[in-house]
């Protein structure tokens, strides 16, 4: 790791200016995954003085500051309730407390890490990203955009609604990256089916979601058909943790459990 210069920015404006002073200047967030990324940084920009560590509830939305740590997400009473607590549950399954005390929600999002367990529930929750200058966008739009967004993520917004959620991480131990993670959410007739750590970045099964939306009743046959569609439309890859075929098989099993969970009281 080589860092030429380190600045603790006194304001978002100053951090934004530092970011744009050079192409190899980086926001370091919590720094938890820094060793997995580019080993040389001209200016490392620290946002810890900007009061971006917060979780607030304005009645309609939950706002999460970009520098909020995963451990705070996991322990938060509000997040433990909405969408059946899938974001908190995902956060608490990431490695040990030492890592959760430094890794931030903003770092997990902006890194677009394929192994992320946080991105999958955030996509299922239709979470909205608020940047310092760039237009706001949903997490899934951010993950899919080819645009290189050199901006500062300020906060993540989750709309409160009568929603259900399901999340499962499939991994050998807490310290392993997931072989696959799956999130399913439901808001009325709207479903989200999301697979992450495929090993690619989290992705939605749009066709399966639309299929479910058109159904009057979600029974066993419908669920079986939906997960076949979901597993067929999403791409799965192979690495040392599992083959594409294995991941596809897991996807069907856990997506079905997820649909069942959000349409019944099984969770």
């Amino acid at each position: 790791m080589k860092i030429e210069r380190y600045v603790k920015s006194p304001s978002i404006e100053a951090a934004f200016a530092s970011l744009h002073e050079g192409t190899n200047n980086k926001i370091i967030a919590g720094g938890a995954w820094l060793k997995l990324t580019d080993p040389t940084i001209d200016t490392a920009i620290d946002l810890s003085l900007l009061n971006l560590d917060f979780i607030t509830d304005n009645g309609k939305e939950i706002e999460i500051g970009a520098m909020t740590t995963l451990h705070t997400l996991g322990r938060n009473a509000i997040l433990n309730k909405i969408y059946d607590g899938i974001l908190s549950r995902a956060a608490m399954q990431i490695m040990g407390i030492t890592v959760r005390n430094i890794a931030t929600i903003g770092g997990c999002i902006m890194g677009k890490f394929g192994f992320s367990d946080i991105l999958t529930p955030l996509v299922a929750m239709d979470a909205l990203l608020i940047f310092h200058q760039h237009d706001k966008m949903t997490v899934v739009e951010f993950l899919n955009t080819k645009e290189n967004i050199r901006d500062i993520l300020v906060k993540v917004v989750i709309r409160k609604a009568n929603t259900r959620g399901y999340f499962r991480k499939i991994a050998l131990t807490h310290l392993d990256f997931a072989v696959l993670n799956t999130a399913v959410s439901r808001n009325g007739s709207e479903f989200r089916i999301v697979f992450g750590s495929r090993p690619g970045v989290s992705t939605r099964a749009y066709k399966a979601e639309n299929f479910l939306k058109e159904q009057i009743k979600i029974d066993e046959d419908v669920m079986n058909k939906a997960v076949e569609i979901a597993a067929a439309e999403c791409q799965f890859g192979s690495n040392q943790r599992g083959s594409a075929e294995y991941r596809q098989s897991l996807a069907k099993v856990y997506a079905k459990r997820g649909i069942k969970a959000v349409t019944t009281n099984e969770n």
Partner: protein, 155 residues
């Protein structure tokens, strides 16, 4: 660059490189109890307390810790010594390489949740790997230690 730390209650000023990690800076400060293990946040042997919270010193840049409080085992020597007697009684100790980090995590747990269940202890210590003694006896030792601490508190 120069940073200021409160290391085990003592204010110090240290010269660091911008890309230097806390584990390296602590060595410069003659703190050798913080072990180097995997260097990738997995093993937990480099755990220290940053403002009272356990963090991996192999993955926190020293510059991030500027003007913050760092606690190593030297800063909780009294509690660590007491805990070690319970480790000894339960046979929860062998080579000792992971012990300073484990003691710091137990100390942080005690502050966050003074009356944890056995399952909560296991969950809190997931990131503290031990390759010789196993975890069952550690859990029993920690339960006994915390029960004794609670009893002393009541008196």
């Amino acid at each position: 660059m120069k940073i200021e730390l409160t290391l085990n209650g003592r204010k110090i000023s240290v010269d660091i490189l911008p890309g230097e990690y806390l584990i390296e800076t602590l060595r410069k400060c003659n703190i050798h109890s913080v072990r180097r293990g995997c260097d990738t946040t997995n093993c937990g042997v480099c755990t220290i307390l940053l403002d009272g919270k356990p963090v991996p010193s192999c993955s926190v840049l020293s510059a991030q810790a500027d003007h913050h409080q760092i606690t190593t085992i030297e800063g909780i020597a009294h509690e660590a010594e007491k805990l070690s007697t319970f480790f000894g009684k339960e046979g929860a100790d062998q080579c000792g390489y992971c012990n300073p980090a484990l003691a710091l995590s137990v100390y942080a747990l005690m502050k966050e949740n003074p009356h944890p269940t056995s399952a909560e202890i296991d969950e809190y210590l997931i990131g503290n790997l031990c390759r010789c003694s196993g975890y069952k006896n550690q859990n029993k030792a920690i339960m006994a230690f915390l029960a004794e601490e609670a009893r002393m508190e009541e008196q």
